[in-house]
Symmetry: C2
Amino acid sequence: MPLKLNAADAGFEAAFRELLASKREDSLDVNETVAAILKDVRTRGDAALVDYTERFDRLTLTAETLRVSADEIMAAEAKCVSEDLAALSVAADRIRDYHRRQVPEDLDYTDADGVRLGHRWTPVSAAGLYVPGGLASYPSSVLMNAIPAAVAGSERVVMVVPTPDGVINPLVLAAAKLAGVTEIYRIGGAQAVAALAYGTETIAPVDKIVGPGNAYVAAAKKQVFGRVGIDMIAGPSEILVIADAGNEPRWIAADLLSQAEHDTAAQSILITDDADFAVAVERAVEVHLQSLERTGIASESWRDHGAIILVPDMKVAARLSDRVAPEHLELAVEDPDALAAQVRHAGAIFLGRHTPEAIGDYIAGPNHVLPTARSARFSSGLSVLDFLKRSSLISCNPDSLGAIGPAAVTLAQSEGLGAHALSIALRLEKSEMT
Amino acid sequence: MPLKLNAADAGFEAAFRELLASKREDSLDVNETVAAILKDVRTRGDAALVDYTERFDRLTLTAETLRVSADEIMAAEAKCVSEDLAALSVAADRIRDYHRRQVPEDLDYTDADGVRLGHRWTPVSAAGLYVPGGLASYPSSVLMNAIPAAVAGSERVVMVVPTPDGVINPLVLAAAKLAGVTEIYRIGGAQAVAALAYGTETIAPVDKIVGPGNAYVAAAKKQVFGRVGIDMIAGPSEILVIADAGNEPRWIAADLLSQAEHDTAAQSILITDDADFAVAVERAVEVHLQSLERTGIASESWRDHGAIILVPDMKVAARLSDRVAPEHLELAVEDPDALAAQVRHAGAIFLGRHTPEAIGDYIAGPNHVLPTARSARFSSGLSVLDFLKRSSLISCNPDSLGAIGPAAVTLAQSEGLGAHALSIALRLEKSEMT
């Protein structure tokens, strides 16, 4: 049974705080193991990769077979069901179209003092993409992680994916090709992160590493951070659905379960202003659970982390939602735009009764890599911006330096930084002379 | 004596690689000490802050005096030299003007399938700003860290600054007021980071923490990352100057020293295509060093980490610069735009002979918090974007869900996620019925 709360109850605030503070995952401390693997790959390169892959993936490789060949990718594509390939291609096109609209503009202007200022965006040269193997190897995640890098203009989009016992989902390779991945290596774990960060004889190092992974991968990403950029460390998935009585309970129940089925640590929360609707949704969840493929996972997540919250009105719903700062927020109400205007912290907002969250996981266009664990308060989903960086531009001529230089000299002197002041003052003398 | 290299020499590549790999700072391992302080502040709140401030800053506070009062800020302002205040005010205005141009636009469009898509930017509600105390307490850094948060629209801009023995630079308080800081607490170290991340009885927690600090502050920021957002961990400052023989050697020498005087671990590199000019700059550095206030620090930095690199032409200079990916890049050449077009990785680019780097530290407008230690390959200077986050928006109606839903169902099924497929399929049935 999910947690049931009523915002009108006396004990609500305490119970809601407990829900917010609840930890859904034990963080495994694998830092020392990971540090040793990183060091080993850094020292021994390809040989270390071959050893770890033998040990963890039961797969014998050589430096020559680390990389997945173009022939293998073609063969994988040929093995895919054509309907799946067609759907993947539609998804890739839509994701690419959306992400192209994220490309920011450069700035270049001359201000009233004659100082030319601006900024210029340039792509990260080499992006590394970690793709989990086995069950969690999702072609949709390949698209979502690789397309923003390709759209940004990264020359190298390097994917690593473990292939336990040599097995890989052929759709993952097909997705990589569609998404513009330029190199694929069949390695995983901390050793793959090390190879991307430090490089080996066969694998040139990258500048940024993104993509989800297990505790070892997450720890490795944290440890190489600074040498390379990384994306956020993703936690278990979450959905918060704000729904009124005008919804089909079975639809909302399916939406809640679409998060719950990801992971026993996933969280699904329903907020509604109608007690009967809440009961109807809860019943519909039970009915769906009887026929779902992943009913074990979904049941456990819904029982342990699910919640149904009854509120007196939707203003309260919006306020509570902002305190959760959910990864996914569905606004299944009559006027979703009005409600969206009251909400501030959410990774992605799904507007209206006909926008199930799952449409955003696959095909809508926006990225499905989104901030979890309340981090939507301060961070955003993966985007083209994650593969771009900005250089600021400043240009003075003698006149404009004459206009703004004296104030800079004053400030440098007040901070006791004489060479700073000198570097400006010398040029001001000169411009006074001319 | 700085390192001297000639790109035409046989041993150049090896020597340049060594320069790139050289570590300029020993990283102190203070993780355990910091973890204990974080835990203590989290448990005991204000009382812990009072204890640590007594111990580390020799200052006796109470919960009531943790916060710097409006009267104290006014009194500090009254103590400042009016010329300094005026310069600070010019700087604040220029920085604000530049950063306002960084505010990104929202996106809202309906695509060919009738799907409404977009994104919306919203500010981080509460920004925390760490300002070092004592010698490294720079009013210019207060402006550079606080103004982007204020421009982004953060309601709370909370500054923490240690005041050893109760002493604080009055210009720091004046800068805070100018920059739009809303609360100031006289605490520092890991305990201040803990207070910002977890909150205490007196200090409400923030969502993001930025600003430079010592090893304890850096370790504390890393440890609270995830609960709150953080900015990059800044390393020692760097400048790379590409200069031809058309420059005044004394100017370029002062530019190199303006980084060197920051810190013995700072790095200044000159790349030039003229051997005589290189000699002239080196001599001018020696002359300047005889009269600089901070000559000890600057001499040590220049001797231990400085470098002069002679190149056959400026194309080689641009290539080498990209391998350094410097925090600050000066292009003191005849046609700086043409050279800038060949460069890709730099935190800030200073164009032409009349744009000393120091003008960007204080008054030009762009942020002086910039990526160090080669991280300009994948990250950018501090900006308004660091205090904004993006929610993606998706809205389908029955028709547009009908158009794109089937492909999503196919993909969900291929990934074995039945509830994902169900949440879309249920709605498709319905739209087929209507």
